[in-house]
């Protein structure tokens, strides 16, 4: 208990801050911050597994997040029958061709020894395959995109409940990580960082521009929800009664009946969105706690010890007979899969998929700031990092505004400097993140909650 005091204290302060936002701003804002904190925490846990456990740098978080989102769309949207009948065959055909191509290349790799001829023949097979696939897919893609382009224009999904996409998102991200890992894991740390960053950009480019898959930059909106809709809630009796019970003391102050009804309606409307957010919080909490238990168990298992050994001295671990390459690949896939879950959760919460919004600043670098600030190698630290950094990211604008007003208090309200500074308040969040990261890296390089391994 004594040992964990700093962890408990840090989390209490964090929850206190969120509750303060609830009291002073609104519970709606507090809960939406809390939900995104939870999602960020899942992402940081994924990155932390790779960086903290194994020392692998992965700057491709954005790509896995987007794949998670893609899974949410492909699982939950109802299939567009017309598009399937018009272009489905072509798409399936090209998918089949891709699989054949992969197998042919694998066969050649296995069958023949490394030589120039082999390299050239593989290259020519890939180029030829891409050309053939383009010719097969093109008419199909055109037909699909022509089907009611304002509303659909894509194949749609499976029409299943969106919750399943959390698993599928993990699967997608894991498969991508497997491919990237096979290709890039042998690289040096900073090369790996650059390579993963660029590959994630390629993933985003594909998602953005392949309209037949997810409508590209036209976005998919109105995804199904695992939680009830506000409009429905506002008409259910038990919910209205619940809200009435909660706000009884306030309502009793109003004597006029019609006024009382109006106030109650207001409370119901506010309450409904809070309730929906609470539902999400509950779902997300389940995921975060499950992942936390699993990752903690893994950290203290023989496997976790092995990973730390590999991280701290790769050669020694190799000499002890641990398969470093395989373990790196495994942890790369696991971490990325967790990020994929977070991506699906994010889209589930927003109810829309906007490929244009995936930017490395928000989905890669910010997550890394969270990992570093929270404490790499420590799961509690990673989660805390997600909370602290996201909280600051959102609350930076109000804090910045306050600071600007404080420092320029002596200036006239129409003074050009003051106006300019107030206009640029949103960018203070970058400044805060940067300075925060630099300070932490300098004075507390292991993060707020440093890694602590107890040997039992």
């Amino acid at each position: 208990m004594r040992k964990n005091l700093n962890v408990i204290a840090a989390y209490c302060i964090m929850m206190g801050l969120i509750i303060l936002v609830g009291i002073f701003q609104s519970w709606n804002i507090a809960l939406s911050i809390f939900n995104l904190c939870l999602i960020s925490a899942v992402m940081t846990m994924g990155a932390n597994i790779q960086w903290g456990y194994a020392g692998l740098i992965n700057f491709g978080i954005m790509g896995y997040t987007a794949l998670g989102g893609l899974a949410a769309v492909l699982i939950s949207v109802d299939p567009v029958q017309e598009a399937w009948s018009k272009g489905g065959f072509d798409i399936l055909m090209s998918l089949f061709l891709i699989i054949i191509m992969v197998f042919v290349v694998r066969y050649i790799l296995k069958k023949y020894k490394k030589s120039k001829i082999r390299t050239y023949s593989i290259a020519s097979i890939i180029i030829l395959g891409i050309i053939i696939i383009r010719f097969t897919a093109e008419p199909g893609i055109e037909a699909i995109e022509a089907v009611n382009p304002a509303k659909t224009g894509f194949l749609g999904g499976l029409g299943l409940p969106i919750i399943f996409s959390w698993i599928v998102g993990a699967l997608f991200a894991g498969v991508l990580a497997f491919i990237i890992g096979k290709v890039a894991l042998g690289l040096r740390a900073d090369y790996l960082a650059i390579a993963t960053l660029l590959i994630s950009e390629i993933v985003i480019a594909i998602i953005k521009h392949e309209d037949w898959l997810t409508r590209g930059v036209k976005n998919v909106i109105g995804l199904k929800r695992p939680a009830p809709y506000e409009v429905n809630l506002q008409q259910t009796d038990w919910f209205i009664n619940l809200v009435e019970k909660f706000n009884l003391s306030k309502l009793n102050l109003i004597s006029d009946l019609s006024e009382r009804q109006a106030a109650l309606n207001q409370f119901v409307i506010e309450g409904s969105s809070v309730f929906v957010k609470l539902c999400y919080s509950g779902l997300f909490l389940v995921i975060v706690i499950t992942l936390l238990i699993l990752t903690q168990k893994a950290l203290y298992s023989p496997w976790g010890r092995m990973m730390r050994a590999i991280r701290d001295n790769e050669e020694a671990a190799n000499a002890m007979g641990k398969n470093v390459v395989k373990q790196h690949l495994l942890i790369f896939v696991l971490g990325s899969a967790i990020v994929g879950i977070a991506g699906a959760m994010l889209v589930t919460q927003d109810g829309l998929f906007t490929p244009g919004s995936y930017r490395p600043m928000r989905y890669t670098f910010l997550i890394w700031v969270m990992v570093i600030v929270g404490g790499s190698g420590n799961n509690f630290g990673a989660i805390l990092g997600g909370f602290v950094v996201w909280f600051l990211w959102i609350e930076a604008a109000p804090i910045g505004l306050y600071l600007v007003n404080l420092t320029t208090a002596g200036l006239d309200n129409s003074h050009f400097l003051k106006v300019h500074l107030i206009e640029s308040v949103p960018y203070f969040r970058f400044l805060m993140m940067g300075i925060g990261l630099l300070l932490i890296m300098r004075y507390r390089p292991k993060g707020i909650l440093p890694e602590k391994i107890e040997i039992k």
């Binding site: 290709v183 900073d190 650059i194 940067g434």
Partner: protein, 336 residues
């Protein structure tokens, strides 16, 4: 005649733009490579440092414009660049003193320095956006075209016009001068040689009496020059927008690695490799084939290998292929 038309077409749409874009990338790539070779980390703040330099150039340009100073047909920004370089170099040295020095002295692993550079990236980005705002800015003045498409058509009587923007010519000329001076400096002067020695083997260089402080300082100053000029040329040619500059970091990294990271000459050529492959692979060749082939063989589609949406993806794919087959780059890296 058709053949000449086809050549002009390619020159107009592929060669000239790619040469200008490649020069801009090359300057950034040399910047990345110098930092990597001498300070030994991947600088993720590259794009934002370039945007900082450009911002200072723009501010000076505005100041000169308000004073009524101009260079006639040349853009005023050329006059502003030297002042911006002084400002930028001191910014770089300031960052080094307060941020990077600590880790260098402590011999931190390169990964940690790369993380620190992400912190610098955030701060620089914030400073740029707070000072000049995130919107698109054009600061070009003076003569826009060296050769206009219409004039060219009249002059030669060809069907295809060749338009050359003055910014493209300025970009190419300035890049050539800058790069030649830089290579002369690295290969012929004492300081340049000691920089190369330091990059090649730090311990040996220290043993032979090379002052690391001086090397680091000069590296940051050169980096400041490259960042300012590269950024300003890009801004003159296209436009200045902080977000675009941040994104440009990615092809710049690709260029540096393709050329062999740590090797300035490789980075220089890498810039052109990336630029040409981006444009060659995403250009629609329909018109070209219409000129070259007989009428019966004219292509139906656009004859485009990849849609322009995948412009960035092309350079990254090249990078991935290079990393797989030749991780040290086309021109062996790490020699400087």
């Amino acid at each position: 005649m058709d053949f000449v038309n086809a050549i002009i077409l390619l020159l107009n749409y592929i060669f000239v733009p790619a040469l200008a874009y490649g020069s801009q990338l090359a300057l950034g790539a040399i910047f990345v490579t110098l930092i990597y070779g001498i300070l030994r980390f991947a600088n993720f703040a590259t794009g934002d440092m370039m945007s900082f330099g450009t911002m200072v150039t723009i501010l000076f340009t505005w100041y000169f414009q308000s004073l009524g100073i101009s260079l006639g047909f040349l853009p005023t920004a050329l006059l502003a660049i030297p002042f911006a370089i002084i400002f930028m170099a001191s910014y770089m040295l300031l960052i080094d003193k307060f941020v990077f020095k600590y880790y260098r002295v402590n011999k931190s692993p390169p990964v940690q320095l790369a993380m620190v550079s992400i912190g610098v990236m955030f701060v620089t980005q914030a400073v740029v956006r707070i000072i000049i705002g995130p919107s698109d800015r054009r600061f070009f003045d003076g003569e826009k075209f060296l050769i206009k498409a219409g004039e060219f058509k009249e002059m030669t009587g060809l069907n295809e016009g060749l338009a050359i923007k003055s910014t493209q010519v300025i970009t190419i000329i300035v890049t050539m001068i800058l790069v030649s001076v830089l290579f002369w400096f690295l290969n012929k002067t004492r300081t340049g040689k000691s920089m190369r020695a330091y990059s090649d083997n730090e311990d040996l260089a220290l043993l032979s009496g090379i002052d690391p402080k001086k090397i680091v300082m000069i590296t940051w100053i050169i980096a400041g020059i490259l960042a300012t000029i590269g950024g300003a040329l890009y801004g003159l040619d296209k436009s200045f927008k902080p977000f675009t500059y941040f994104n440009n970091m990615l092809p710049i990294f690709a260029a540096a690695i393709v050329g062999g990271i740590g090797n300035p000459f490789g980075a220089f050529l890498g810039g052109y490799v990336i630029a040409f492959s981006e444009i060659l692979l995403t250009y629609a060749y329909k018109k070209f084939f219409m000129y070259v082939l007989p009428e019966s063989m004219e292509p139906e589609g656009l004859v485009q290998l990849l849609s322009t949406d995948y412009k960035f993806a092309v350079s990254f794919s090249i990078l991935v292929i290079v990393l797989l087959y030749r991780p040290s780059g086309i021109f062996k890296g790490k020699i400087l």
